[in-house]
Amino acid sequence: MSITKEFSKGIIKENPVLRLLLGLCPVLGVTTTAMNGLGMGLASTFVLLCSNIVVSLLRSVIPKKVRIPCFIVVIATFVTIVDMSMNAFLPDLHANLGLFIPLIVVNCMILGRAEAFASKNSLPYSISDGIGMGVGFTVALVLLGGMREILGAGAIFDYSFTPEAFEPFAVFASPAGAFIGLGFLLAGMNLLSKKLKLD
């Protein structure tokens, strides 16, 4: 077990969204544009990293029986911090992400890492796991957001590059496009992991 390995596994081999299917609500809900995906990914990464640090430090103090409520309180604290600072410094992004900011609390990826990794491993490993998983989550969000933005609006990161004659696929901007887009991304990931022989 090495620190770099804990970091890199979150990006492809155990990508939380594309391989483990964790935390799909924000993935589908906010990815109308690549920018929203990036904002949500970074916010979740921050919460995941901080909760991994605190849970790892407190792992010998927290009693086994009440560990889940303890983890939830830790996570909810950092979510409240993100919620309020984003509201103060990035109000536009905060308005776009809306309900999904407080809902980071129930993102099963974050609770899952606290339970499966941070509560059993020492601080350096938990930090590297948190960053790796967070980066993997962000990559998946930006991929899906970028794909929906290109197909649904003919732009990427608000930069429009398609010719006038391009008629965007309205369905990819709508909720249905999120499901269909993620479905194809998962199929692509299955193909990739077959080619890389990950299973």
Binding site: L21, L28, I72, T77, T80, A178, F179
Partner: protein, 191 residues
């Protein structure tokens, strides 16, 4: 009366929690492999959602707003929902072992079901009164149940379909959910 009907109908069809608002996707994909389990999960969600809508509303009005503690909303609500689920589980186990047999496994899963917390926060954001909150919770839970059972039915059929192996499982389920979501978009014209 019309206003309550609009909230109920809106929550079931137009702003369907799963297919339009993207809340509760994890159980939506996790337990929709069979119709039976999806019915069990839906029943547990209806129960918890209605209870949670009442309790979180009372907490928001009589504790958080009373003492100016709105910034604690996320922490307070998730703790209340987690303990409520635990309490409901113990109560059902004691009062009705038969019901517990049916719902038992699904209850702990509901704590991390974002549909419950999402519904509680939406009630506050929309400034619903208590009766409207309850109606909204019932609508949200029915909408969740409909989406779950319909997708489970589709997935049971998909099991038998010939598919590229890369699309098997979650991938094709998501694409089916996308087509279902297109169908639900049609309801938006009714309001």
């Amino acid at each position: 009366m019309g206003e309550y009907f609009a909230i109920l109908f809106g929550a079931i069809f137009i702003y369907n929690f799963v297919l339009t608002r993207f809340l509760g996707i994890c159980p939506f994909l996790g337990v929709t492999k069979r119709v039976e389990t999806s019915v069990g999960m839906s029943a547990a969600v209806v129960f918890v959602m209605v209870m949670a809508s009442i309790i979180t509303w009372l907490i928001q009005i009589y504790i958080l707003e009373e003492f100016g503690l709105q910034y604690l909303r996320t922490i307070a609500f998730i703790l209340v929902i987690a303990s409520l689920v635990q309490f409901v589980e113990m109560a059902i186990q004691k009062l009705s072992p038969a019901l517990y047999e049916g719902l038992g496994v699904f209850l702990p899963l509901i704590t991390t079901n974002c549909a419950v917390l999402g519904m509680a926060i939406l009630n506050i954001q929309e400034q619903y009164n208590i009766l409207q909150s309850i109606v909204h919770a019932i609508g949200a839970a029915i909408g969740f149940a409909i989406a779950m059972v319909v997708l489970a039915g589709i997935r049971e059929r998909l099991e038998l379909a010939t598919l590229s192996r890369y699309y098997k499982g979650a991938s094709v389920a998501l694409i089916a959910a996308g087509i279902l979501s297109v169908a639900f978009q049609g309801f938006a014209g009714m309001m």
